[in-house]
C-alpha cells in the first residue's frame, strides 16, 4: 500500500464520491503538486494538512476546477457527471462548480461580492442555477444564512460591513444554498479570533452532522482538522506524505514530518 492510496473506511460501504488520481501541477520549475491522489466517500470529511507551500490549497483549487493540473484525473460519482473533470471545457466547469460544488475561501474577497447584500451573495448561487422567483430567492437565502448561524436581521447588509467571522458565515451560506454534493473549505477559520474560530467550527461540525455534507477541508491548523475530519492527508512539498483515518494519523503518525507536526501541536 502506498501512502497515496487510502483504505475505505470500515463503516461506509458505498462507492466513493470523489476520486482524484495522480494529480501533478508545476508552475515553471516549481512542482506544486506531485502525483497527489485522494478518495472521499459520501458524507465524509477529508482534512488536508500541511504548511504553506505544501500544495494543499493548489489541490483544493484543482478540486474546484480553478486550476488545471498538468496530469491526473478527477471524477465525481454524481448523476450526469462523467469522465475526468479536468477535461471539461470552461462552460461545463462553470456549471458544475455553480451547482454541485460549494467553496469557502480563507479570503472572503475571493468568494463574496463585498458591496452587494449578504442575501444577494447567497441568492447569486440560486440565480445561476436558474431560480427566477424573488420570494423563493429570499426564502432560500434566509434558510441558508440561518443554517450558517448568521443573524437574519443583517441579511441585507453587505459583507464589507461585517466582521470576519460573519463574512465566513455568508460564504458558508452561499456554499450550502444549493445543497452541494461537495463542500470545499480552504482555511475557513484562519485569521479569525480564536473564540470566533471555535464558533465557526461548531457551525461547520453541526452542519456536517445534520446534513451529512461531503467536505474537503484544508488547514495548516491540526486542531481544525482534528475537530472536523474523518480522514487526514498530510502534504509536504507538493506530495502526500501520509494519509489515513484521522484517529490513526493523530495517535500513531508514521511519517517523520507528521510526527513533528503532531508533537508540535500537542
Amino acid at each position: 500500500m502506498t501512502v497515496q492510496q487510502m483504505d475505505a473506511p470500515r463503516l461506509i460501504t458505498t462507492r466513493p464520491l470523489l476520486i482524484a488520481q495522480g494529480v501533478s501541477k508545476s508552475y515553471g520549475s516549481v512542482k506544486a503538486l506531485q502525483d497527489v491522489s485522494a478518495t472521499v466517500y459520501p458524507g465524509e470529511v477529508l482534512g488536508i494538512v500541511g504548511e504553506s507551500g505544501s500544495g494543499k490549497s493548489t489541490f483544493l483549487r484543482s478540486l474546484n476546477l480553478e486550476e488545471t493540473p498538468d496530469s491526473g484525473s478527477y471524477t465525481l460519482d454524481l448523476p450526469d457527471v462523467q469522465g475526468n473533470l479536468f477535461d471539461l471545457d470552461r462552460f461545463a466547469r462553470r456549471m458544475l462548480c455553480a451547482t454541485k460544488i460549494g467553496i469557502v475561501y480563507q479570503n472572503p474577497h475571493l468568494g463574496l461580492l463585498m458591496k452587494h447584500s449578504s442575501s444577494g451573495n447567497v441568492a447569486e448561487r440560486l440565480l445561476v442555477a436558474g431560480e427566477r422567483r424573488f420570494a423563493v430567492l429570499r426564502e432560500k437565502a434566509r434558510e441558508a444564512l440561518d443554517a450558517s448561524e448568521f443573524p437574519l436581521s443583517r441579511m441585507d447588509a453587505p459583507p464589507v460591513e461585517l466582521s470576519g467571522g460573519m463574512q465566513q458565515r455568508v460564504q458558508l451560506a452561499k456554499a450550502i444554498a444549493l445543497e452541494p454534493a461537495l463542500l470545499l473549505l480552504d482555511e475557513p477559520t484562519t485569521g479569525l479570533d480564536v473564540s470566533v474560530q471555535a464558533l465557526v467550527l461548531d457551525t461547520l461540525k453541526r452542519l456536517q452532522q445534520e446534513r451529512k455534507i461531503t467536505m474537503v477541508i484544508v488547514s495548516h491548523d491540526l486542531g481544525v482538522i482534528r475537530t472536523l475530519a474523518d480522514r487526514v492527508m498530510v502534504m509536504k512539498g507538493g506530495r502526500v506524505v501520509e494519509a489515513g483515518l484521522a484517529d490513526q494519523v493523530f495517535q500513531d503518525p508514521q511519517h517523520a514530518y507528521t510526527q513533528q507536526l503532531v508533537h508540535a501541536k500537542l
Partner: protein, 304 residues
Amino acid sequence: MTLASLTRDWEPMAYGFLDASAKREIRRKTLKAISVPGCQMPYASREVPMARGWGTGGLQVSCTLINPTTRIKVIDQGADDSVNAASIRRFLARVSGAPTTTDTLEADLIQSRHRIPEERLREDQVLVLQVPNPEPLRPVQPNMSIARQMHADADYGRMWLQLYEQIVRAGRVMQGASYPSLVNGRFVMTPSPIPRWDVPKLHMAKHLTLLSAGREKRLHAVPPFTKVEPLVFDDVPYKVEEHAHLMCHRSGLKGFFMNEIPQADGTSIHEVSDSDLGVKAIHRTEGAPVEIGATWYENGEMGQ
C-alpha cells in the same frame, strides 16, 4: 479608347457617403446579427462626418440600407425636429437623395435615438436604433473581453443579481431606460436607452429592428417575430413608466409616453413624446384629414 471612357469621374464621396467596402461589411454584419438575434456583432465602424456618440452607428446602417426611394424619418427623444435628428436627416437626404418624412406611417426607414414611435410598425418598415453602449453587462463587467465570454456562456447571473439587489435596496427594480432584455431566449441585449414603455413594442414585432453602436463598433438586431423579454422575476412583474393617465397639454392625447415640463409654480405639465403623433392629433382636431395608425398602446395599455 481613352482613360476617361474607361473610368468614372472622380467624386468627392460615394453614394450614401460610405464606400462599397464599408457598406459590404455592414451588410454582412447585419445579416449575421439578424441570424443570431440579440448577439452583438463587431464591425469596423468607419468615421463619418458626425461626432462619435451622436448616432454614427445608426447613421452607418442607414447609409448602407438607403436608396433614392427610401423614405426616411429621423427622431431623437421622440421628436423629428430635435436638432440632432434634423442634422442626421439632412445628412442622409444630402448623401442619398432620398425623400424624408415625419409621418411614421409613411416612413420606410426610421432612425431613432431613445424612442420607438407609438404607431405600430409594419413588416415593410425598418427601425434603426442608435446605441451609445451596446453591452448590457457593462454595469457588472466593464471589461469587454470578459463580457463577450459571459455572453458566450449565457452567464447572466450577475445581471439577475443586480435586479435582486435593486429590489432589496429600493423596493423595486430601479433600471430606468435601456432595460436589459432576453432575445429569442438566448442573448441578453440592451434595447438601447428606450424607456421601459417601449421595450414591449419589440416583442414579436412585425418590423426589423437594427441596433447599432458606432463608437463601440457593435451591431445587434431584433428580427421580426422574435421574442424580447425584459429580465424580470416571475413574481415581480415588469413595470412600464406610469404615464398611462397623463395627458398632453397641447394635443389632448392620453395614454402615451410623455415629456414632463416643469412649471414655475412647482407643478408639471406634459406633452406627448412622439412629436409627430402629437402634431397629427392636433391637425385632426382642427379638422384636417390625417391618418393616425394603430398604436401599440390602447388607452394606456399595451395591446396584443
